[in-house]
Symmetry: C2
Subunit: 259 residues, 2 copies
């Protein structure tokens, strides 16, 4: 099946956290009707075996080049998928695509203007992790990428500090990696300054995959090596508690519980 004569399309899709059952029907349909798929190696691997697709795998940190290549192919009339894990709009490829569009050279702008661009949501890691834990994000919360590749570490620390003062629950993406072993350690240091030692810290690793692990500890017992690059960390707010094996944050705040 070729679409060379039809309008080119770039569809930025979220594959969810890993388990194929967490894909939406919308994304399944987009995969079925695409001609080409771009993405980071492990995401491309999730589509291997689909013979109607030409696969274009690339390395991490090559997001802008990948977006450019995908737009070029879509401008030729192809039906192009850009793969993200989780949701494409949360620390993933959607923002990179729009960044490339904004800084396009005049010849690229001319080429790309006919491409239809669509973003299709997915289950982002914090929602999958929260569901497995219980309901730790059941009240106001914030979402912070702990990677300092694209922002200063001081900005991250300031945000954690203000979030603690606002008593948000917090979801941390990319808590650390081999190139940034100290990322989560710095976050823990801020949390220890701002929060009580009983504050619940949840570590969800490889959520929805066969080797998923969940670990919930009080802040006083949390340590940096509990998180790696495959871990999503959720910090409770001051009211987050356990009921049996479940962690949840009450809906009410600063008013009498209605239990």
């Amino acid at each position: 099946m070729t679409h060379a004569s039809s309008q080119g399309r770039l569809t930025v899709v979220g594959l969810g956290p890993g388990n194929a059952e967490l894909l939406t029907q919308q994304v399944r349909n987009s995969i079925a009707s695409a001609t080409d798929a771009f993405g980071y190696f492990p995401y491309i691997e999730r589509l291997s075996g689909l013979e109607h697709l030409t696969l274009h795998a690339s390395d991490n940190r090559e997001e802008l080049e990948r977006a450019r290549a995908a737009l070029h192919l879509a401008a030729q009339g192809k039906q192009v998928l850009m793969l993200s894990s989780g949701d494409p709009g949360v620390f993933a490829m959607a923002s990179a695509v729009f960044e490339v569009l904004e800084y396009a050279a005049p010849d690229e702008q001319l080429l790309w203007q006919a491409v239809h661009i669509e973003v299709q949501p997915g289950i982002t890691a914090m929602l999958a992790a929260a569901a497995r834990l219980g309901a730790p994000l059941g009240h106001d919360f914030c979402t912070i990428n702990l990677s300092d590749n694209l922002k200063p570490a001081e900005v991250i620390e300031r945000r954690i500090c203000l979030a603690a003062q606002a008593d948000f629950a917090m979801a941390f993406y990319n808590p650390c990696s081999k190139s940034r072993p100290q990322g989560f350690e710095r976050a823990l240091k801020v949390l220890r300054q701002e929060c009580e030692p009983e504050r619940l810290i949840c570590f969800a690793r490889n959520v929805s995959r066969p080797d998923e692990t969940l670990n919930v500890v009080p802040l006083a017992a949390a340590s940096a090596e509990m998180a790696d690059m495959r871990t999503l960390v959720i910090v409770g707010n001051s009211l987050t508690r356990k009921v049996g094996p479940h962690v949840y944050t009450p809906r009410s705040y600063g008013v009498q519980a209605r239990g």
Copy 2:
């Protein structure tokens, strides 16, 4: 099909923002194998026509009674669904279920202890809205329920203020309703104190439904009547901008753009 002799199960599922294409396969499977479904009227309506299900609709603000009734039925061996729109863990039913479990009377605890409880994630409104707008949540952000049913208005205002100081993008759920017409007006007042007049405010109403509307204005032009109870509001951070019809927040912050 009856499951009266099998283990009772309460599965708290997210139906996504409205369009059936945004359901996950996991939730579809759970709907197919359930015996009973509990939920707020309009969510129950989305399952009408499924003859294998006994439907138990109830009104808004009856979340705790609904959770109790669902647990009672599951304790009798039924396969019970608890319906949420969006994601059940984000301002929805999951937290209410765990609240009821925590405050269960001794006889209820005894009855309910054999029930298997599972939360299954869904596409929450802010992810669907962000995808339709572009990528406004592409950098650190926070998520605030503007309803003051379950928390003081002062807490909400303080959180918006601190979130602005952290330069988070913000997603506002339940910006206002007939009983709280002033909710979003108060939020706008805080934003006007903390943010520049050019800050982008995005209104996404009935996202993913046939009557979806999107509206993006600078803070200076935003007004309270632009949001109603079916609107999800996204406030950009200080770097959020438009590229063509799309709104996006750059991945980089406080470092040189890599365009």
